[in-house]
């Protein structure tokens, strides 16, 4: 049984590793640095982007033959803005606290280079099904990095995961804290995300030398 042909599978799998939007194309760094201090925010952001990209790519792909190319950027912006506002409203309605944490960054999904990049590079030239897979794949690639970075930053920075203490209580000095461990305040500030992303890039490129760019 082949639900997806090999070519279609690659549309999803490539952006997860060897063509990752963050670590290879170095797009979408802004939000990756800003909201990854907590794992929960990272996951919500990843899901939002998956929704926006999946649906957006399909819409653009369906419209691709009727969009005049001169105004295509405006059309793309309208589509992505609509979707982002939907995400924003849903978050405000059902997860108000979280939407406050994410703040402007949900709105700024509009400017996420990955989204506009995939609209331009893929959805305008491919059918809806493949565009959908491409959108999901790239958003997943983005989400994976967000979740990895969020995991390490929250674990090392505040000693929690999804807000649940996993290393003990820093005030009552239980768990790891009883032997002198302390949270790393550096991990909470955005420069730490840059360094974690940098380390991921480093690891990925040293495992696959073909990815190393010419100097």
């Amino acid at each position: 049984m082949a639900l997806l042909s090999k070519k279609d599978t690659n549309l999803i799998l490539d952006p997860l590793a060897d063509n990752n939007p963050i670590t290879i194309q170095v797009l979408g760094i802004c939000s990756a640095l800003a909201i990854t201090a907590e794992l929960q925010a990272s996951v919500v952001m990843a899901i939002s982007v998956i929704f926006v990209m999946g649906v957006g790519n399909v819409v653009i792909s369906l419209l691709r033959n009727v969009i005049p190319s001169k105004i295509r950027i405006i059309v793309q912006l309208v589509v992505v803005a609509t979707l982002v506002i939907m995400v924003d409203q849903v978050l405000k309605a059902f997860a108000y606290e979280l939407s406050k944490t994410l703040g402007a960054f949900v709105g700024l999904i509009i400017t996420n280079c990955i989204i506009m990049g995939r609209f331009e590079a893929f959805a305008l030239g491919n059918g809806p099904w493949r565009s959908f897979l491409d959108g999901i794949g790239n958003a997943l690639g983005y989400g994976v990095i967000l979740v990895i970075v969020g995991f390490f930053r929250e674990l090392l920075g505040t000693g929690t995961l999804f807000g649940i203490p996993v290393l003990g209580d820093p005030i009552a000095k239980t768990g790891l804290y009883s032997i002198g461990y302390e949270n790393n305040g550096f991990m909470i500030i955005p420069p730490a995300a840059l360094i974690v992303v940098g380390i991921l890039i480093w690891i990925q490129r040293s495992r696959n030398k073909a990815l190393i760019e010419e100097a």
Binding site: Y181, E182, N184, G185, F186, M187, G198, W202
Partner: protein, 419 residues
Amino acid sequence: MKEKLHQLKLKYQGKKMAPAFNAIHTFLYSPNETTHSGSHIRAVDDLKRTMNTVIMALVPCLLFGIFNAGYQHYSAINGFPENFSVLEHFITWDNFWIGAITVLPLVIVSYGVGLAIEFVFAVIKGHEVEEGYLVTGMLVPLIVPVDTPLWMLAVAVAFGVVIGKEVFGGTGMNILNPALTIRAFLFFAYPTWMSGDKVWVHEAVERAGTADAISGETILGYLAQGNTADMTEKYDIAEMFFGFIPGSVGETSTFLILLGGLFLIFTKIASWRIMVSAVIGSLVMGLIFNGIVDAEWIPEYSKFYGLMQFDFWQHLIVGGLAFGIVYMATDPVTGSQTYKGKWIYGFLIGFLSVMIRVFNPGYPEGVFLAILLMNVFAPTIDHYVVQGNVRRRMKRLKNATILPKPSDGKTEQLKVETV
């Protein structure tokens, strides 16, 4: 012994662990390799010699730091001695013992972790172990508070060596001074252990809040809290200069740092231009702040008042400014390379250090931040110095009148070219 090691080296050439072996080998003996082509100068002032010279300049600071750790500890408990005498109250076995059990573990952890990482990277990448960490490993324990937990230091050293140095390609390629990267990491990651009035004296943290609580704030911390009362009530100038004050382990004694600095200048290891210009820079900034206070532009209740009214020249004898200028700013790798660039680089380090000191609300010390910032700008400064030089010479060439020469001799031609 020497011969045997050479034979062993040949035997293991090209093996995976060869760099690790060679590192220890060349540490003990100068290698027996000779070059095969071109002309070379054989000199003994290699990287290892350079590093050892700096370490020699640091040893007095380390020893002083060991005694001072004990002295501050006992003074905080028993009160500062009346009629202080160095031999009676400072160089004692008690002080040495406290210092040894607190400072030496810092040195061991710093070297152990840092060198282990250097060896691992050398083996993975297959290059020789570079000596760059020898100085960094000695600097690190001297610029942290005495009670820094050892695991924190280990984490910070690992971070500093990997992110500060190895990712750029190892010794000689780094943009930031690794020792200061380590210090900055500690400061941002564990601020409660790096600043405040309890971390500078051994055991002060444990005693905080109990009946035995002892105070050990630094002079800068004291001023930053708005204490404008005359500092001489607490410490006199001589104490600040000779270093019998709380602070990071090895940076308190301006006197010994001065001697170390002179030694480094005399041996031509460190640049006197950077040192002099950094001192000038800090004096200028201090004078500006003093001027603001004298002109009464700033009210006494301002939180910057305490540090602003501090005599401009005293900035040099408290805190880490002198240590930073002598041992950190002069790092040949991360500093400016051109003579003019060194003047600019040094001046801005001194200038910014004092500025950050006064304006940093959380932590009244700015030397490490100023030096790291200028490390980043050093290549830019050099670039513009070089460009300026090129432009000036081009102009000179354009304006040079090439006189018709009686004979087309080679010497004439050379003269024109070298105008």
